[in-house]
Amino acid sequence: MAKAKGAVEINSERCKGCDLCVVACPVQVLSLQPKEVNNRGYHFAFASNPQACIGCAACAAVCPDGCIAVYRIMPER
């Protein structure tokens, strides 16, 4: 069976750059911005490798600020 394909949408202004989603992601989709910061001065998370996303929502489950929305399509569709 082919893998499900997913996408994440991160509210970068709400993100505090705590790194927990980066650690929780099983397929290493996310990273923290190395240089850019948001309006509150945090190095926010972004999808550095969006093609690998499987839409498992592990990042959203551990995000303390609810910044992450997750979308997924199953391969059958």
Partner: protein
């Protein structure tokens, strides 16, 4: 860069921030477990459809501003007195879902009497207990639940048993009381444990609505600012050091 934009359509949505968790930026430190538990509480209330009849009681502690983040009715209690206020609210409004949201300094030190007696009376409330082993809000002082040898700002050489006593396992104490119907200890450091905690909170809320007695959900949490670690490191430290003293699992589950 991202050519998977076509996936981001409403019909493919798997997860988004619950509606009850509003857009105010939380004041919690980056990586604080409070945010996760707030989100779970909001999700559970939303899924149960009881937002119009839920009253939360937030006492003093980091969660003192919980009313800014979850769109339900809140009552602010004095430090440690949340179970006493919750008793009154629930007795006067027997059809409401009443829960308290307390930290370890609040529940296990300042409000020990209120907590134990509310649980002993079997009040139909839910107590959500965030145990991070430290007074996070006031600057990382020692709490009753601080581990032996743990460095805090008031025990700079580590907590000593001969001087400060043993870590207080208040959840085990509450499980002994006949008034409690559901006592559990969970954590929120991985996606799997977050989902288990959500189920525990849901079960506790259902028990409260059904009037089965007091439900206690302890969440072993991190305080990365107080522990002076990064959030990811604090989660590892919690698994290594907090779990031997506070093992996760159900302590009491009466049907």
């Amino acid at each position: 860069m991202e050519n998977n934009e076509y996936i981001k359509r409403p019909e493919n949505l798997v997860y988004r921030k619950p509606r009850l968790l509003n857009d105010n930026n939380m004041h919690y430190c980056p990586g604080c477990s409070h945010g996760v538990v707030h989100r779970l509480v909001a999700e559970v209330i939303e899924e149960m459809g009881v937002e119009h009849k839920t009253i939360g009681i937030a006492p003093v502690g980091c969660a003192v501003f919980a009313y800014n983040y979850i769109d339900i009715d809140w009552v602010e209690a004095a430090h440690g007195r949340a179970p006493a206020v919750a008793t009154a609210v629930r007795r006067l409004n027997p059809d409401r879902l009443v829960f308290t949201y307390q930290g370890d300094g609040d529940l296990a030190a300042i409000g020990t009497a209120e907590t134990i007696h509310a649980a002993n009376r079997g009040e139909n409330i839910t107590i959500i207990f965030i145990n991070n082993g430290i007074y996070g809000m006031t600057g990382g002082q020692m709490a009753p639940t601080t581990l032996e040898g743990m460095t805090t700002s008031t025990t700079p050489y580590g907590r000593r048993i001969d001087l400060n006593g043993y870590p207080l396992k208040i959840t085990e104490l509450l499980a002994q009381l006949p008034g409690t119907c559901y006592v559990t200890r969970q954590s929120v450091h991985t996606p799997a444990t977050v989902r288990k905690t959500k189920l525990a909170i849901r079960k506790a809320f259902e028990n409260s609505l059904a009037g089965k007695g007091t439900s206690v959900v302890e969440v072993v949490s991190t305080c990365n600012s107080g522990w002076k670690m990064s959030p990811a490191k604090a989660n590892e430290w919690m698994v290594e050091n907090m779990f031997p003293a506070y093992p996760p699992g159900d302590l009491k589950n009466e049907e």
